[in-house]
């Protein structure tokens, strides 16, 4: 009886049940297709990420190591302290002919006839021309070294360093490579004596710009970037938060505020070079701030970051449920108290995340810095944000244009440093959000 009723019902609506089956299949297929698209999209993204990281890390990790040569240096008094001042005359000590000490040391070490000028010059070319500073620091650090012999690890010249790292094709004919057969033989001799080693390159983090690859580092660039980030943070966070609180909580909704909102969203999409032009016209030419200074860079990047922070802050404020506001006002809080005691603390994780992402964006910018003179060779540490400095992405750009082979690895090395900073900032943003975010 019931069976009959069912079959009757089926007979009455055959199309309905069939149509429903087809619909489910189609929708499942659509879902599977969509998932597949998603996986393909992510896979393509991952492939490019891996390719990028691979190319950077495989080229760049060697920058953190530097070939050094251990040479016995005799701090000959007649060269270091020719006036025999007993180490009192620091000016003379700092201007002494230290390269000569190195030349004497290496010539003795390799057993070269000192009168054979070509051989002496070829041997001397194995060590960096930057030895002056290194030996000067040893002598000025301890006056008693004068007259003694000491084993010193000296930076190898960038050609030697590149050859040691396999970056030169040494199989080509002698005239076309930077290191000649004689020099390679000496290097082998040094290696056999355990005097040639790749050691961790602390200098990469402490040196400033240099035309010699072996003493070029990202130190000045890091300091410049930190100055700028601090300025951006100090200026854009309070201004951005204040602006968005006003727009979100206090401002009336009318044509004017709509107009302001459209403009803020527009500014967030303006190419960064435009901010550079503005910075040149207003800060450098208008206010007379110094060229190439971190303070101008910081101001320009602040302008660039502000819209991002305002948009993020407004979104965070909007996400706080109206019930919180209503409850605060209902218990007699003033509007200001409501905002600062209840809404802002709840929106803070979102604001900080937006700020850090804005900062990370600003950290990677080069284009606006070009016009205000920060794309520059700067060797000295900036003593203040008013002094000339450069920035990490700028250093990468400058090195990418260098002709010498040794700068290739340094370019990638600097990219690794920049990526590490960016990862650090973004991880902080995620942790802050996870820790403090409230969900309703």
């Amino acid at each position: 009886m019931t069976d009959l009723a069912v079959s009757e019902a089926r007979a009455a609506h055959p199309a309905a049940s069939e149509r429903r089956d087809i619909g489910i299949k189609r929708r499942y297929a659509a879902e599977r297709r969509f998932k597949l698209y998603g996986i393909v999209a992510i896979a393509i993204g991952l492939i490019f990420l891996v390719a990028l990281l691979w190319s950077v890390f495989s080229k760049g990790y060697t920058a953190f190591f530097q070939t050094e040569i251990r040479v016995p240096i005799t701090f000959d008094q007649s060269i270091v302290d020719p006036k025999n001042s007993g180490g009192k005359d620091t000016k003379a000590l700092s201007m002494a002919n230290y390269p000569r000490l190195v030349q004497n040391g290496i010539v003795a070490l390799l057993g070269i006839d000192p009168s054979d000028r070509t051989a002496v010059r070829a041997a001397n070319a194995l060590v960096s021309q930057s030895v002056r500073g290194q030996l000067r620091d040893i002598v000025l650090g301890d006056i008693t070294t004068i007259g003694k012999t000491q084993e010193v690890w000296l930076y190898a010249a960038s050609e030697v360093d590149s050859a040691e790292k396999g970056q030169y094709d040494l199989s080509v004919e002698e005239s076309r490579r930077p290191l000649k057969d004689q020099q390679l033989q000496w290097l082998q001799q040094l290696r056999d004596d355990d005097r040639l080693q790749q050691r961790f390159n602390w200098g990469f983090f402490t040196f400033g710009g240099s035309s010699r690859a072996e003493t070029a580092g990202v130190g000045v660039a890091i300091v410049g970037s930190i100055y700028m980030m601090v300025i951006v943070l100090v200026l854009s966070l309070p201004i951005g938060v204040a602006a968005s609180i006003y727009l979100e909580e206090f401002a009336p909704k009318n044509r004017l505020t709509d107009f302001i909102e459209v403009n803020i969203n527009n500014l967030a999409a303006v190419p960064s070079i435009v901010y550079g032009l503005l910075g040149l016209a207003v800060f450098v030419n208008g206010f007379g701030l110094p060229r190439s200074a971190a303070v101008v860079g910081g101001l320009v990047l602040t302008l660039m970051t502000l819209p991002t922070i305002i948009i993020a802050t407004r979104a965070a404020l909007k996400a706080v449920p109206p019930s919180i506001r209503a409850a605060a006002l209902g218990l007699g809080a003033s509007k200001t108290q409501m905002v600062f005691h209840h809404v802002l603390p709840l929106a803070m994780p979102g604001i900080l995340t937006g700020t850090i992402i804005g900062l990370a964006h600003a950290l990677g910018e080069t284009a606006p810095l070009l016009l205000i003179g920060m794309v520059a060779f700067v060797a000295d540490y900036p003593s203040s944000p008013m002094a000339p400095s450069t920035a990490l992405p700028v250093q990468i750009y400058m090195w990418a244009n260098e002709a010498e082979r040794a700068f290739v690895e340094r370019t990638s090395g600097a990219i690794i440093v920049l990526l590490a900073f960016l990862a650090l900032m973004n991880i902080t943003a995620i942790i802050l959000r996870r820790r403090f975010e409230r969900r309703w």
Binding site: L237, P345, L352, A376, F377, S383, S384, M386, A403
Partner: protein, 347 residues
């Protein structure tokens, strides 16, 4: 709430440190801007200058190109204006005018050496023997076939000259914004145009003298000659990718990458510091920097820097600049450079 206090504390603290440090400003370094060809030389001199006289800070050298550098240079006189502009070409009349308008009236031109321009192929390639005529026939926009002016028909280098390999013509030449391009056009294309008689044919086909000369310097636009607006590192990357490509480089860049590149001869002369300084190798150009005379004596170390730059230990035959690839001027000419600067001669 604790977060907001933390942030407020951090902000206040950093603001104070900045304000405090801003007071302790040190002596301003010399500010230099301009040509990317001159940049490495200026870097070397700046670094050595600071080592030799530690009382002066290391000069700051901006990169950006000759034209951008000269534009900044002509913006005015004052502590926030640059002191020196590097240039891989002489300053133009129009630029001097702009300078004058903005109060930069006394400009000292300093020539410090020469730069060679070379053709190079991948290190594994065959010998390339070029002449201005070959370069023009291969890369000029128009050529003359049976007395008629036609679009350049050459497809391979062998079409142009039998001694060359049958590679498709793929040349990577500097873009219009580079100073190198002008030298390339004048010393090779124009010379080749004249040599092959194409200029005469152009003139006969109805162009006036000026149009014919301009036509000579036109590079073909059909893809055989790619203009590189980036630096020589980009040209090198192109040759790495296309082993049958021919690139135009500065001599210094080639010398740093000899294991990857093979240089072409021009008129059977191998480019080197010696052949360029003796004038045998035809494609070279002088390098300059321009000094604001109003800043000399005001900016600490400026005249010392220029003196140091022009000293034998820098631009001399065995100096670090020559080692990097600068072609030193002959002895007497170097002496002239020094005389001209110390005499305070302005333009």
């Amino acid at each position: 709430m604790s977060i907001s206090k933390l942030v407020a504390g951090l902000t206040l603290g950093t603001a104070l440190t900045i304000a405090a440090q801003a007071h302790a400003q040190s002596a301003d370094p010399i500010q230099i801007a301009g040509s990317s060809t001159v940049l490495p030389y200026a870097q070397i001199v700046a670094e050595n200058f600071h080592e030799a006289s530690p009382d002066f800070p290391t000069p700051v050298v901006e990169s950006g190109g000759s034209s951008a550098g000269l534009k900044q240079f002509c913006q005015g006189v004052g502590p926030d204006q640059i002191d020196i502009a590097n240039a891989s070409r002489p300053i133009k009349e129009s630029e001097v005018e702009t300078c004058k308008k903005n109060g930069v009236t006394d400009i000292q031109e300093v020539k410090f050496g020469y730069d060679g321009i070379v053709f190079a192929t991948d290190a594994g390639g065959p010998d390339f023997k070029l002449t201005p005529a070959i370069v023009f026939k291969a890369l000029g926009a128009k050529s003359v076939v049976d007395g008629k002016v036609v679009d350049n028909p050459a497809k391979t280098w062998a079409d142009v000259d039998a001694s060359l390999p049958a590679w498709n013509i793929a040349a990577y030449i500097p873009g219009e914004k580079h100073g190198t391009r002008e030298v390339f056009a004048e010393k090779l294309l124009a010379a080749g145009c004249e040599e092959t008689g194409a200029k005469e044919a152009f003139a006969k086909s109805g162009m006036d003298e000026k149009a014919a000369a301009a036509q000579c310097m036109q590079v073909r636009k059909d893809g055989a000659a790619a203009e590189i607006d980036g630096d020589y590192t980009e040209t090198l990357a192109r040759i790495d990718a296309n082993k049958q490509g021919v690139g135009v480089f500065g001599l210094a860049f080639y010398e740093q990458n000899q294991d990857k590149l093979k240089v072409a001869t021009i008129n059977d002369v191998v480019p080197s510091v010696e052949t360029i300084s003796s004038g045998k190798y035809p494609v070279s150009r002088p390098l300059f920097f321009y000094v604001k005379k109003a800043h000399v004596g005001v900016v600490p170390g400026l005249s010392e820097y220029v003196d140091f730059f022009l000293s034998e230990q820098m631009i001399g035959n065995d100096g670090p600049l020559a080692e990097y690839g600068l072609v030193p001027a002959p002895d007497a000419e170097r002496e002239e450079f020094r005389q001209a600067f110390s005499a305070g001669k302005t333009m």
